[in-house]
């Protein structure tokens, strides 16, 4: 198989001029994530895509293409949930665009209208090997707005964006409580009313068909929720207390939307329910502060989710104060050490994260045809004292150094 791939590469190399998105990456240990670790592995990226991967006997790197090397190579890391780029590192009012406090339900707020591609936090996480961020409106309102998927590159949103609208972000529990909603019951009542309103809107749209004169007036809010009802966008529900997690399941069953559970601090006491509902989980960071609704959270949760057969990813999450963002590489290391194991921990910030985002055909592992996104380390990526020494996005080296 590798031989065939190389033949393809060879013919491509002849046909195409040397491009900026061509690169050879060599690693003493290459973690493909989808398959076995390759010792002395070579990954060939052409036109931004992986065109060959194998060991030195299987893959012949083309001449005249830049080569970067490291002890350990992994897929570019995928942070399954962040607010980076909307939330800035200064933590001043002018750089906090992840939450608009003027209303409890604002699914029409687009992440693409709020993302600062030049934010220092983007540069920061890129330097640890993070190539993809699922970022957007934060877990601070009942429905705070939309999320999106970006690569950690570019000087504008247009150069960064992968999926302009990924999910709609909702939050249960005290984080989204204001004067109203002020209780758990009111939160669910307001969500149900909003979704019922969207169902009415959806009916009118269907009834109008192609007749523009009969269509209801455009309503950005309802349009976004109709897309949730029609499973075009998952509802990402942040819930940490067990009763809030079960409420999210109940809501999803009532309206039939695609639920992605975020946080899941007490998910370990409702594993059966989560398994029955086949809900993917973007689990809280293991170093998130275990206070308030995370007071019963545990660093052993990840092992329990894995043993229960659930699909989950790790995230950097939202932080209101120092540090303004966590780093998924660090978080996965702690999860690995607290029972998850390194292999699964790496998967939770690469392939499993990509799966939950619906992007596993393109991201998350080192396979031919996938984006040439890679992270380079000078040792075990999870060790505290290891450095990230390079980050590659679609064949372009976007970070070089030692962090």
């Amino acid at each position: 198989m590798f031989k065939q791939v190389f033949q393809v590469v060879a013919s491509l190399a002849l046909a195409l001029p040397l491009a900026a998105q061509d690169l050879v990456v060599r690693g003493e240990r290459v973690h493909t994530v989808s398959g076995a670790v390759i010792e002395n592995g070579i990954v060939i990226v052409k036109g931004g895509k992986i065109v060959a991967i194998g060991n030195e006997r299987q893959v012949q790197p083309p001449a005249d293409v830049r080569v970067v090397s490291a002890k350990v190579v992994t897929p570019g890391l995928v942070d399954a949930h962040s607010v980076v780029g909307l939330a800035g590192y200064l933590n001043q009012p002018h750089d906090q665009d992840q939450h608009d406090p003027t209303g409890p339900i604002q699914p029409e707020l687009r992440a693409i209208d709020a993302y600062n591609a030049r934010e220092r936090l983007v540069e920061w996480v890129r330097g640890f090997g993070v190539t993809t961020l699922h970022t957007g409106h934060g877990p601070q309102a009942l429905i705070s707005g939309q999320t999106m998927v970006v690569k950690t590159r570019g000087e504008t949103i247009d150069e960064a964006v992968v999926v302009p609208r990924a999910m709609i972000a909702a939050t249960l529990g005290t984080a989204s409580r204001t004067k109203s909603p002020g209780t758990a019951g009111k939160q669910l009542s307001m969500l149900r009313e909003a979704l019922l309103g969207a169902q009415e809107y959806q009916k009118k749209l269907k009834a109008a068909g192609d007749d523009a004169t009969k269509r209801p007036e455009r309503d950005l809010r309802k349009e976004a929720l109709v897309d949730v009802l029609e499973r075009k966008a998952p509802l990402l529900v942040t819930a940490n207390r067990h009763q809030d997690i079960v409420s999210a399941l109940r809501l999803a069953a009532e309206f039939g939307f695609q639920l992605v559970l975020d946080g899941g601090g007490e998910s370990y006491v409702v594993l059966d329910e989560l398994r029955a509902a086949k809900v993917p989980i973007i689990a809280h960071a293991p170093m998130a502060r275990f206070v308030e609704e995370l007071e019963n959270a545990s660093r052993s949760t990840y092992r329990k989710l894995a043993d229960a057969g659930l699909t989950f990813a790790l995230q950097s999450g939202y932080e209101s104060y120092v540090p303004k963002t966590r780093v998924v590489l660090y978080e996965a290391g702690v999860a690995a050490a607290y029972g998850l194991g390194s292999e699964r921990a790496l998967r939770s910030i690469t392939l499993d994260a990509a799966k939950i985002l619906g992007l596993d055909a393109r991201l998350g592992s080192l396979d031919v045809g996938k984006d040439g996104d890679l992270a380079l380390y000078d040792g075990d990526p999870f060790e505290y004292t290891t450095h990230c020494v390079g980050t590659v996005i679609e064949g372009v080296v976007v970070f070089e150094g030692s962090r």
């Binding site: 933590n91 936090l121 920061w124 006491v269 275990f290 019963n296 540090p323 660090y330 505290y384």
Partner: protein
């Protein structure tokens, strides 16, 4: 490690501490990191009466007859960690009435049964400097705690030679302590308010000196001035929150003007003014953050500060802290490891978790290294201290085990889980129970 059962409690109180102290314990076979000396690959540590009796390589140290031998082969044994800056204990010192409140004591505010102290035990922390926050120029007296299981704070605090509870004084500059009046609104005003207060304390001292022991001539007692005098005399060390390079230099300037002893805390931009810090011989209790920023004064945080001080020949000025809840007491080892990632030596990093911190609290005669005569405060680790995969397996304070990862009730403090966020007395009823 604490049982909630009153009967067991009473029995323990009567029997175990005394017995544990009388019977020598010999910890055999670990890689021992004494900090005060070179690592010992196959070491023996003998403890008795709450103190370390002997430390050395197998063969060079005699295991006393009748000693309880604890086999710790394959483990790493090092001194209990010293956290020079922590907010566990749920206490608040100064209130919002004034920016300078030296009279307020954390002694009167800490909940000695707070879950945070248990979590600190799970992280191997055996000595803590617990203090108020940084929202004041001076938020009150800190308290140095021995992290053992106690019933009252009186049993937990270190003491000055005269028996008074031991601690420093918390101060802050920069942005956190700037608020609406009567708090300062600028850096210049912050420094002016502090200087006025020190001058007033000097005046108070002059009156006391002038009275020359004549009680009728003494000024009236003033709790604030009395605490300030303890700073001026050097008995009480100032623990000074400071991040930005100019704020750091301001602290050094004030310290020089009034002659107070100071430990710089957080010191995010120490790497920018390392020369000045070393010239002033000012110890640094460093925070290590995952990401710069989160607030303006931490925007140029860099974990290389420890390495920079070491490069300038002053590794002894390097210690670390958790600032719990800013970073997690259970992962204190990680702070030093990330400093190694940023260039400091492992030797300095480990001393920065232990002996250097002890010196910054005037406690190096009792803790911070494994040496005969010092308190038997130590941790047993599953492996190399600065590896992400290493776990704190046991924590011992004054010869008594206060944390054991193998015990289910203790594990919850290490990893979290049901009840982990609650004060310990209320939590243990629920350990291991699932809520349906």
């Amino acid at each position: 490690m604490r049982s909630n059962a009153p009967l067991l409690f009473a029995l323990l109180a009567l029997s175990v501490p005394a017995a544990a102290q009388e019977l020598p314990h010999a910890f055999v076979g670990a890689r021992v990191l004494p900090i005060a000396g070179a690592p010992i690959d196959d070491g023996i540590v003998v403890v008795q009466f709450g103190r370390i009796r002997a430390v050395g390589a197998r063969g060079s140290v005699e295991v006393p007859a009748g000693a309880k031998v604890v086999e710790v082969k394959g483990k790493v044994l090092m001194p209990g960690l010293v956290d020079t800056h922590s907010h566990v204990g749920g206490g608040w010192g100064a209130d919002s009435s004034a920016p300078i409140q030296p009279d307020v004591r954390m002694l009167d505010a800490v909940n000695c049964r707070d879950a945070g102290l248990q979590r600190a035990q799970a992280g191997g922390i055996t000595t803590l400097n617990v203090m108020s926050g940084s929202g004041h120029l001076m938020s009150g007296q800190t308290i140095y705690l021995k992290n053992k299981d106690v019933r009252t704070i009186e049993e937990q605090c270190y003491r000055f030679p005269d028996g008074a509870p031991m601690g420093g004084m918390k101060m802050a500059n920069g942005t956190n302590s700037q608020q609406d009046p009567p708090f300062p609104g600028t850096r210049g005003k912050s420094a002016a308010l502090v200087r006025e207060r020190f001058l007033a304390a000097q005046e108070y001292k002059r009156k006391i000196d002038a009275a020359a022991g004549d009680a009728s001539k003494l000024p009236g007692r003033d709790l604030g001035h009395e605490a300030m005098l303890e700073i001026l005399s050097g008995r009480r060390i100032v623990h000074h929150h400071t991040h930005r390079h100019d704020d750091i230099v301001t602290v050094l300037r004030l310290s020089k003007e009034f002659g107070f002893r100071v430990v710089l805390h957080h010191v995010s931009e120490a790497w920018k003014v390392a020369d000045e810090i070393v010239a002033a011989n000012a110890p640094c209790s460093l925070i290590v953050l995952d990401t710069p920023g989160g607030k303006l004064e931490a925007m140029d945080f860099d974990a290389r500060s420890a390495a920079e001080l070491e490069r300038l020949g002053a590794p002894q000025l390097v210690a670390f802290h958790t600032d719990d809840w800013i970073t997690d007491s259970r992962l204190f080892l990680r702070s030093a490891a990330l400093a190694v990632r940023a260039g400091v030596s492992r030797e300095t990093a480990l001393a920065g978790l232990t002996l250097h911190g002890a010196k910054m609290l005037d406690l190096a005669d009792r803790v911070g290294s494994l040496e005969p005569g010092k308190d038997a405060d130590f941790v047993v680790l599953s492996g190399e201290p600065l590896s992400v995969y290493t776990r704190v397996e046991q924590t011992w304070v004054e010869g008594a085990k206060v944390f054991d990862l193998a015990i289910e009730e203790d594990r919850v403090w290490a990893e979290g889980g049901w009840g982990a966020g609650l004060a310990r007395a209320g939590a243990l009823c629920c350990v291991g129970e699932e809520v349906k």
